[in-house]
Symmetry: C2
Subunit: 504 residues, 2 copies
């Protein structure tokens, strides 16, 4: 064993132990959202805060830094395998950033985020923004402290977007979202004003949760989610989480009146989870075995939810199965009518139920609001009004309650600030990746028609998942597709679909 | 703050952190038994081993020892509150014992125990003792190494019984079990030879798992298990576990052909869990907020399962509810017939399905075998034959497969050696405690008839649960009942019931 190999082994053994703590912490969180008894939440919050502190202490430890410096300055480093270079350089970048945040702020953030889950549930229970405002105020205060601790040039929001999208800036996102905002409003208006309108009413069906679950299990298994290495459970807010190299879990919620919520929600989470299941197991917990960015993560979820899950080929294949699990509700609905209905474009209040076009307007609203809050230009007290105003301006509609408005998402309560724009980045990247896969593999839609989803999954395994964090998101897109990151394929896809459905 | 208070705060803060790790480890274990995807078990085993090592390292740390010595030698210690004395002296005793076990042995034991769960499932799946023998061999080898590391005077088994029953010895258990063995065989024979026999066939009923679950939930809630601070789930082997001061969980399994298995199993686990829910929350993780011993723990589970759950008053109260959840199976069965049936005494192969009398013979068999294995007088290869021979000698029956014989329990595979005798100690203590409660509270059976269970629960809260580890088990029984530990009340109770049911 060379000196570099020896030091590298120390480093990876150390990170392996941190990963044990992180995946235990992920289980504590999964359990909190799926099983924790009501009164258990105080202790769990304190426990999660302890884990966050313990993990942070180790991630920012001096010995980790020493090992990394020793490896980077070793004469052998230039010739080291790519995975070692990736692991050490990414860990070093994270070490530098994390080291700037004091331990007590890390624990305070973790504690507030864990408690936020219960606060959000309680506030929603009473539809009361008054209940949510003080914890939100506290969380955004801590988030601003985090910005100051880490430091920034342009915007304190840069620090937070960088947490989820390493290397990305507020300016980049403003540019990307600025470009598409006009297009999205225009496409939405074109759909609204078209004379041919899909019949969305056909989707109204009363479907038992057990049947919805059976359908979700069958479809996600067919597209490639491995249930020997994962599970599907229920939670108030759907999510996916990795608890080990062979344990990736997704959750959903069942609305008896709207089976498509759980189905598309589950497809979305399965897309996330198939990314995690496709990561390199031998590099588990290390950057080479980790996901690239949340934007790329979302590209996987949105790709399976929309580009696959709302395609004609997909429904050609799965319509009969769906009929058999939906209480005969679609027996007399032709496939074309169903396909148009699940692709209809209509301004609506709830992000997670939004269509592919207006979804991005929901994101733009949240992004603009959270930037304003972090930059100190919007107070929590003024948030509900600002929310409603933007919904009126961009979507032409106004929430009838906090629950269908500013309190619909758990993100801010859970301390996820800087997270929302990654959904639209995901849509942008998804279109680029899908087009490339379609070029390389042939007609994907025809494959879906025949129930063939594994070619696409395998292509993503090879071209995206197995690369880990070798590149940042923008570099990954360029490397894989040969094109710079661009929203043109997304807009062209959305416009094409709306033109088709609305006969424009 | 005095110097003692300051040091004591350091100590309790430190233990609080260990407790966060321990309760996370308990969740990892709960999840492994209830939810973990099949392929996730390797990583989970390694992770549990890491946690065991990390916890052991802290429990045996030099700083912990320094603080304890400082407190004990402080002039203020004599006047310190009882809870401080209990906490420090018990922690010190544990520190001394744990410190003798090397880190790598602790991790090897934890790893083998965690993997044992999957080995046991796999071996059971194929009814193959060949599959189980190598991991069992490995586990008992590690257990013997543990005996040697810690040291003992009389028997290497002393070390293991002391893990679950602090202060207890192999000799004490041999005496207690030796006394009752003859009585139990005699009572079993009297029942078998009686002319009046209960009609056990009436218990055969086909009851859906959902109905069994509804019944178990209703009954456990009625007797005092708090579902705001706990849950009921399914697992292959029923267990209870504490994951926080307000999060105590129980599991059961549903056999559609035998509703009584899950019902009495759930009552048993609820008894355990009500003990944990009754511990002092302000002392969570410290000896004053911990359970006394497994024998006392089992006294609580067996008390609720048998002395309450198989009593006439209990069934007088719950029979109608039970009828409403058991598919009309008992509509034409008089209460007396039902009561006799659930109290019938009959040698059988499966411990967890055994009646109150023969149950203790199952335990005696396991105790004798594990003592022989730890003392090196019985090899794993000879275990199945030795098992079958003892079943023939004590119960007059022979298992027809490994699954109904030597492989029925998970304990040995999970590294639980020294655990079995605590079940019978529990039965002994339960009878003593129940008699005392009955003396102090009045006719308990009459209370049960009226659905009044909280007096008993509150009495146990005050007289047992809230005392934590202030006393060891034998001292606790003496303090609470005024009598030395004795199997006489148990034998007298069993004989009385058999005489009643069998009209002797």
């Amino acid at each position: 064993m060379t000196k570099l190999q020896e030091t590298y082994k120390n480093l990876t053994d150390y990170v392996k132990e941190i990963t044990y703590l992180e995946s235990a912490s992920a289980l504590l969180d999964w359990d909190q959202q799926t099983h924790l008894p009501k009164s258990g939440s105080d202790y769990r919050s304190a426990q999660l805060a302890y884990f966050a502190g313990e993990i942070h202490r180790r991630r920012t430890s001096a010995e980790l830094l020493d090992w990394m410096n020793e490896i980077i300055h070793s004469p052998e480093f230039d010739q080291a395998p790519q995975e070692i270079k990736t692991n050490v350089s990414v860990l070093k970048r994270e070490h530098e950033k994390s080291s700037k945040v004091p331990d007590d702020l890390v624990q305070a953030l973790a504690h507030a985020a864990a408690q936020g889950h219960q606060h959000w549930l309680d506030a929603r229970d009473k539809n009361s923004f008054d209940l949510l405002a003080p914890p939100l105020e506290h969380l955004f205060k801590l988030k601003r402290e985090q910005s100051e601790a880490i430091g920034y040039t342009d915007s304190p929001y840069d620090v937070h977007i960088d947490d989820y999208e390493p290397g990305c800036t507020t300016r980049f996102i403003k540019e990307q979202l600025g470009v598409i905002k006009k297009d999205l409003v225009e496409i939405t208006a074109a759909a609204s004003n078209a004379s041919a309108q899909p019949n969305s009413a056909v989707l109204k069906a009363n479907v038992e949760a057990t049947e919805q679950q059976a359908l979700s299990l069958a479809i996600t298994q067919a597209i490639g989610f491995d249930y020997n290495r994962g599970r599907l459970d229920e939670s108030a807010h759907p999510f996916s989480t990795g608890l080990g190299p062979d344990d990736v879990r997704i959750t959903t919620r069942y609305n008896q009146q709207s089976f498509k919520e759980s189905l598309f929600g589950t497809l979305h989470e399965a897309g996330h989870a198939m990314y995690e299941q496709g990561l390199r197991a031998d590099q588990y917990g290390l950057p080479s075995g980790n996901y690239c960015s949340l934007g790329i993560h979302e590209s996987q979820s949105r790709l399976w939810e929309n580009l696959v899950g709302r395609s004609r080929g997909f429904w050609h294949h799965f319509y009969d199965l769906t009929k058999s699990h939906t209480a005969s509700a679609f027996d007399n609905v032709p496939l074309d009518t169903f396909y148009n209905a699940i692709n209809s474009v209509q301004p609506s209040l709830i992000r997670v139920e939004a269509d592919e076009v207006t979804y991005n307007l929901h994101i733009i609203i949240r992004f603009e609001l959270e930037v304003d809050m972090i930059e100190g230009n919007l107070s929590i007290a003024d948030l509900p009004d600002a929310w409603n105003q933007k919904y009126k301006d961009y979507l032409g509609i106004t929430p009838d309650s906090y629950n269908t408005g500013v309190m619909q998402d758990i993100h801010w309560s859970a301390g996820l600030v800087g997270y929302f724009p990654t959904y639209t980045l995901g849509n942008i990247y998804a279109s680029q990746l899908f087009n490339k896969a379609n070029d390389e593999l042939g007609d994907l839609n025809k494959m879906f028609e025949q129930g063939e989803f594994h070619s696409l999954k395998n292509w993503l395994n090879t071209n995206v998942h197995q690369l880990g964090r070798r590149y940042d998101a923008v570099e990954l897109i360029e490397t894989v597709t040969g094109e710079v990151a661009s929203s043109k394929p997304l807009i062209s896809y959305l416009r094409g679909k709306v033109n088709e459905i609305y006969e424009l």
